[in-house]
């Protein structure tokens, strides 16, 4: 049995840390809206001077392509590694898994020179491809875990019906695996949207191709102490992910905490 005092203490601690977690974010919103005199002037000003329409569009394009391509590749590879037996399957899985631990800092410099030598620097595909590779590393790990946990009877029943491996995947496993796939999609979308280092290094001269976070950092450099403008910009960049998070928080938390769990 827990005493009343214990329960109150628990809520006290949780509330205190909840306040600490949201305070900086609420402060950003409050200043961006110019509270207590509600105004949208800072937004329109930041929107125009920071070229955010352009940069948000770029981010949206990058996220869409990375999510679609990485998800499809991850589902295909995770399916094979989770349900089929072939030589080197385990090794291949560990090779993908190792990618989860490779920091962007370790690959970004060689990537810069590699992409430049094939003319992919300052292009959106040049920014997408490395992010697809990083996402695939998580996606394969995640989808393989799903396919391994999917009931064997489902796969066997489909096979007895004479379905090919492809039909089993498309007609049976993908529809059943929607929750797992959704988790993967929101995580890849968030990581891609928030990515900064790759964008900074790869999109180093084409202003028109900047992503939203990169655009905000440049904007920050130009308006050092105009906090209201900066806060409006920060809100513009952060809000899309936060909105999705509010509705799908379970998927975000489950997925992000899984990365460190080995079998």
């Amino acid at each position: 049995m827990t005493s009343r005092a214990e329960r109150l203490g628990t809520y006290g601690v949780l509330s205190l840390f909840a306040v600490i977690a949201v305070f900086p974010l609420l402060a950003v919103a409050a200043q961006a809206f110019g509270l207590p005199h509600l105004s949208f002037g800072a937004f329109t000003e930041a929107w125009r001077r920071g070229h955010f329409a352009r940069y948000l569009t770029n981010s949206l394009i990058v996220v869409t392509v990375v999510v679609i391509v990485a998800s499809v590749l991850s589902i295909l590879a995770g399916y094979a590694l989770g349900t089929m037996e072939f030589r080197g399957a385990t090794t291949l899985f560990y090779v993908f898994l190792a990618g989860l631990m490779v920091p962007t800092e370790a690959i970004v410099i060689p990537l810069y020179f590699d992409l430049r030598s094939v003319g992919l620097d300052n292009t959106l595909p040049g920014l997408m491809l490395p992010q697809i590779a990083q996402s695939v590393s998580f996606g394969v790990f995640w989808m393989r875990a799903y396919f391994r946990s999917a009931p064997r009877s489902l796969i066997e029943a489909s096979r007895i019906d004479g379905a090919s491996s492809w039909t089993t995947l498309r007609r049976v496993l993908v529809p059943v695996g929607r929750p797992a796939i959704l988790t993967m999609v929101v995580l890849i979308a968030m990581w891609t949207w928030n990515e900064f280092l790759l964008a900074l290094v790869i999109i180093n001269s084409s202003e028109d191709l900047r992503t939203a976070p990169l655009g905000l950092s440049i904007f920050q450099g130009q308006h050092q102490t105009e906090y209201q403008l900066l806060m409006a910009g920060a809100l513009i960049v952060a809000t899309p992910v936060v909105l999705v998070y509010v509705f799908l928080q379970r998927h975000f938390i489950a997925g992000m905490l899984s990365g460190a769990i080995k079998e």
Binding site: L76, F86, V102, P103, I107, V108, L111, D114, F196, L197
Partner: protein, 290 residues
């Protein structure tokens, strides 16, 4: 454990597309980086063989050694502090099963999903001359203590570190809260019947019950502490002076500002090795149950 299912060669075909992209844009740059780290190269002219010279410099050069030292300090702020605080708090709360957990979990985890650029903008204001920290100090009559926190040689590193604590503490709390709910209540009741006090209960029930969560939290926060280029670049750019230079920042700095590409790659590979090693050690320690 081998994957279930019958032998199927078609598996290779399914894996191939993912593997090609992964190999070209992650494995290859990693290997290329390891190769470049063995040369003195400015990125323009022909490089000269350096062997492990760049690694020796990464450890030996006082400025770079300093950056690793800064990373160690940040490790305390990113990993040790959040995990310890969250662990103690959650242990205290372990006996109650509060309602509204979904709400608290969502809010506590929020800093994890906000773009680091936005986090940096928010905290730059918090630490600024007229921000809430200096404001509170003045209000408390401690105006003499006010300063531009991120521009102060002594305080810049801990100030950046505290941003890391803020980002990571919610992650640790969410993990431990989930873990503590899974500890059977009977264990706590049994401990009480045996007359265990809060401290004994902590070591006998809560700590063993949360081992796995502790390992996950330490791994995630440690890796975050070493991969913190974004926050450093966006808040202090390593300054003032070298006060907040960290290896993750030096990778960028040495390539684009001082033209020491080989050295930068050696630092990048070193970060990767440290991440691998720490992950392995934490997992080993946790899985070697007593």
């Amino acid at each position: 454990m081998s994957p279930p299912g019958e032998p199927r060669r078609i598996g290779y075909l399914y894996v191939l597309p993912a593997f090609v992209v992964y190999a070209l844009f992650l494995l290859w740059p990693l290997l290329h980086g390891a190769y470049l780290s063995l040369f003195h190269w400015d990125g323009l002219t022909v490089g000269t063989w350096a062997g492990l010279g760049n690694y020796a410099e990464a450890i030996g050069d006082p400025q770079l050694r300093g950056s690793f030292w800064h990373a160690a300090v940040l490790l305390i702020f990113y990993a040790v502090l959040p995990c310890c605080i969250a662990f103690v708090l959650v242990s205290i709360m372990s006996r109650s099963r509060p309602r509204g957990m979904t709400f608290f979990r969502t809010v506590l985890f929020l800093p994890q999903v906000v773009a680091m650029v936005a986090v940096a903008v928010a905290w730059q204001w918090i630490y600024s001359d007229h921000g809430p920290i200096n404001g509170s100090l003045r209000f408390a009559g401690l105006g003499g203590l006010t300063r531009g926190w991120l521009g102060d040689f002594t305080w810049a590193l801990p100030s950046v570190g505290l941003i890391g604590t803020w980002v990571e503490i919610g992650l640790a709390m969410v993990l431990f809260l989930a873990g503590v709910q899974k500890i059977p209540r009977e264990l706590y009741e049994a401990a009480r019947v045996d007359g265990a006090g809060a401290v004994r209960e902590f070591f006998a029930v809560t700590l063993p019950g949360l081992r796995r969560e502790l390992a996950i939290a330490l791994t995630l926060t440690t890796v975050a502490a070493l991969r913190n280029f974004d926050l450093i670049y966006l808040t202090t750019s390593g300054g003032p002076g070298d006060a907040t230079k960290v290896p993750a920042y030096e990778v960028y700095n040495r390539t684009f500002n001082t033209g020491e590409v080989g050295l930068a790659c050696a630092i990048g590979i070193t970060i990767a090795i440290i991440v691998f090693a720490i992950t392995a050690v934490i997992n080993r320690v946790v899985e070697g149950r007593p």
